[in-house]
Symmetry: C2
Subunit: 524 residues, 2 copies
């Protein structure tokens, strides 16, 4: 099964080269390059897998409603409690006790799917239904690559990672900051970072829920970048944010500010409880899911209290802690099962579902890969509509890795290819081609192959499929070595997406003005 | 989210150590050890995923029957052709044209599930239904580890790998030789190798179909090792073999000898076409599956012609070639889809299904891990009953890797844990525990956690979940480093399984006699 075994047609078969057979033998096959499949919208052709029965799902759902009614949940924002009180909820101090009927009637108002708009309309995505989108990593405080090692997040790496995320076709949207640019003062960080996201890329972006003023700034920048008015912005979700429950059973003030402002403007909110079984949630996966679901439903219901019909996503992030060290673990069997049940709960709630591509590994090694693919397995088979942290996450989310971003992007493209439905018709079933070749023949030379071989199979960027001898001769490169090379090659081919000159000037002016005003006051 | 955050109960939570909190703080958490979950039989709790619709499945199945009827298939063994002729098939030279009705009526006689007996009855496995078993790697000509590099297969490594496979609880059965012991002459290799398999391990074993005499020798050795008579052996499948179609559309003489002898003795046969799309099968996945199914059904039907009701498994191995190099690729999106459709076809045929854990990587790196987990994803969600090459496969099956075997075994244990159904009851849903902790609390200290934390989560051998600082202080070990250490530790704890002294002597005598007789004549 090497090139040498296959006879005369080999040189044409082996990737369209026209050199003679002899020359091909002597020349080792080159490693894969940065060719990628195009940016494309994906749909899941498989039924999501059920990890619990419908009866068990109802048990979990009812238990979650019991938690919200009996124990209640803290909303650490006076305005939020006022809204709940006005809606008839039982508010005692910070604690809000929510009746199951109230929760369900609010959740029922959330849309099953919607669009998240990018400034480049061809990068606008659908969220929900059977659509599947991938985002890059969000929010790590550290960044690293093989050449430079691990370092604190900074604006230089921030911009490089935004460009890499723009170049990688596997990445549909920006989940947030691919690394925290800690060298920009927090008072103006959102202004500079969002400007880079909006100019170095034309994919949809996210904002952090860190108070009303920052949210207003980001909304205004997105409006300017899209060249639309406020009314159109309110019709077309163009910014998204993650609202983490401060588990167990708490939504803190900045997060609630985020819902109050973004849901009010019909922007996309992902409610994601941070329910690590054994730490901020029960040590049992079923218990962690009961709590996740209680928090998610409460958060989703609140978005609908703020604005009925506003776009909201059910975020599942339940994993377990390492009971030896107390560290969070990711891509574990528990994570996979929780990801699949999370999908069942989200579909029961009738809203899109977010899961993640996560790992706990400290190095870009086998562990980082198997934990990531196990995460993707749980997410995709669980019916995730949005795979958050899809590319670049390392070290439990503490580090953005350039090499991991490229490897993840290649893995996401494999998943994308896996999601393409198999074409079964007379031409693909190839009964005539099989008859033509007959017992003991080979398929390299026949017309059926000639017509299709160029695009027949997924062609990876990273995977090295050379035989051992060619590979050893090339210096025995690992996936990490290839990824390092590809980071450089992809950075080289980056193209800044065009932006209307007037829009660019308006964006510049806005950021300059807001920076001159001192941005947002910080108390540190 | 580190040990330090969690308060007084930390030292007990962090793995049952009883040292004081202060001491735990100063001592970095140690890396994981060779503790493994027990050897256990597994059942898939999830519905297999369908990659094609029922109508498409029928189209593929009917196309396969058309191939067998119209093109036919070569059986390169006179006895086989005689049997087909007697059954009413149209035999012309080597070519056998098979009527769909004949094929289906024979396939219908194969059992849906059966048991494969090990000499240690606790290691006997069920094959079929919703049972899932894992085997180790079979048949690579090369072997390698980080310390010794890549080398030709030899009996020393063979025995070490058999011991490692015995020690690894994730491995249910031996798929064959974990590496080819090329330093033993081919005339007597099966005698020495099978003796090592039967003495150094007590898990079920396989034999290669390399002619009647070798098969008879292996059967006799298994009979002796199990301490049973021929009649019991004929009742209880105790040996298995893989019959590869020599694709396209051929079964060669040694393989058919295997079926003729092993099926006749009611032993387990896995029929696995080697249908690489674009080389020995059509370049389209649907076409490769039509051909796979034609070859598999013909082989399965033939086992039933030899002995109705004999145990047989549908093997799916369809993957694609790298069109750049002509090399086989594994763990690709095409492999995943083909693995899932293979399961649908096997269930339609009513026989157990075999898939594989395979990769094309040359190193124990990210690529080897993601290709393997993608393979497992396709196999497990496709409903595979038997995951062949489950632990140790590297380099497209050309090399057995010690480190990969340990990493794979850990990944198989993760899959095993993923296959454990989620327990959903009042205790696990933990509504009371959630109420006890309340908003903003933590779950470390409560009784619900105390009662469960020791066994709550899967504990990996390989994965390093320490925080970056502890990990860097320990020398930044990768998964490969951990696997190297674990190979040594697992080799150290290996225990030879007991064997009745009289049986051991009988086995010795048999092998000595057959070796003295010169084993099996070879023509090389």
């Amino acid at each position: 099964m090497t090139v040498e075994d296959t006879g005369e047609n080999t040189s044409r078969q082996a990737g369209g080269r026209t050199g003679g057979r002899r020359r091909n033998r002597e020349r080792p096959v080159s490693p894969p390059g940065p060719q990628q499949p195009p940016w494309q919208l994906l749909r899941r052709p498989y039924e999501p897998v059920r990890a619990v029965s419908d009866d068990q799902l109802e048990d979990i759902h009812r238990a979650s409603l019991r938690v919200l009614a009996e124990t209640g949940i803290n909303f650490l924002h006076p305005k939020a409690r006022q809204l709940w009180s006005a809606a008839g909820a039982d508010v005692q101090g910070e604690r809000v006790h929510l009746d199951g009927e109230l929760v369900e009637s609010l959740v029922a108002q959330a849309p099953e799917s919607f669009r998240l708009h990018a400034r480049n309309p061809t990068h606008t995505v659908e969220v929900g239904g059977d659509a599947v989108i991938f985002g890059n990593v969000a929010s790590p405080p550290y960044v690293g690559d093989a050449a430079g090692g691990r370092r604190e997040g900074n604006v230089h790496d921030f911009e490089k990672l935004v460009r890499l995320s723009q170049t990688l076709n596997a990445v549909h949207v920006h989940c947030g900051y691919p690394v925290e640019p800690t060298d920009i003062h927090a008072s103006v960080r959102h202004l500079h970072a969002t400007k880079i996201l909006l100019t170095a890329s034309d994919k949809a972006i996210a904002a952090y829920s860190l108070g009303a003023q920052r949210t207003a700034d980001c909304l205004e920048m997105v409006r300017i970048a899209r060249g639309i008015d406020d009314e159109q912005l309110d019709r077309e979700p163009s910014l998204h944010t993650v609202i983490n429950a401060s588990s167990p059973l708490r939504f803190d003030e900045p997060m609630l500010e985020g819902i109050l402002h973004l849901s009010a403007r019909n922007q996309m909110v992902i409610v994601t409880p941070f329910t690590l079984a054994g730490a901020m949630a029960p040590v049992t996966v079923a218990g962690a899911l009961v709590q996740q679901n209680a928090e998610a439903l409460a958060g989703i219901a609140f978005t609908q209290l703020v604005r009925p019909g506003s776009p909201v996503v059910y975020g599942g992030f339940t994993s377990n802690v390492d009971m030896r060290s107390g560290s969070p673990a990711f891509g574990t069997p528990e994570f996979m099962k929780a990801a699949m049940v999370g999908g069942q709960l989200a579909r029961r709630a009738g809203v899109p579902y977010r899961s993640s591509n996560v790992c706990a590994a400290n190095a870009v090694d086998s562990q980082s890969a198997y934990e990531s693919v196990f995460s993707l397995w749980g997410a995709i088979m669980g019916g995730a509509n949005y795979v958050y942290h899809g590319a670049g996450w390392l070290e439990g989310g503490l580090r953005a890795s350039y090499e991991k971003m490229v490897i993840d992007a290649d893995m996401l493209q494999m998943v994308a290819s896996f999601l393409q439905p198999l074409i079964v018709d007379d031409a693909t079933m190839a009964v005539e081609a099989i008859a033509e070749v007959g017992p003991g023949g080979h398929f390299f030379g026949i017309q059926h192959t000639q017509d299709r071989y160029r695009d027949a199979f997924f062609a990876p960027m990273v995977s090295d499929w050379r035989n051992y001898e060619s590979w050893a001769e090339a210096g025995s490169p690992t996936a990490l070595n290839h990824a390092s090379r590809l980071v450089a090659e992809l950075t080289e081919v980056y193209q800044e997406p065009p932006m209307d000159r007037q829009i660019a000037a308006e964006l510049d002016d806005f950021v300059s003005r807001r920076v001159a005003e001192g941005g947002v006051p910080t108390d540190f």
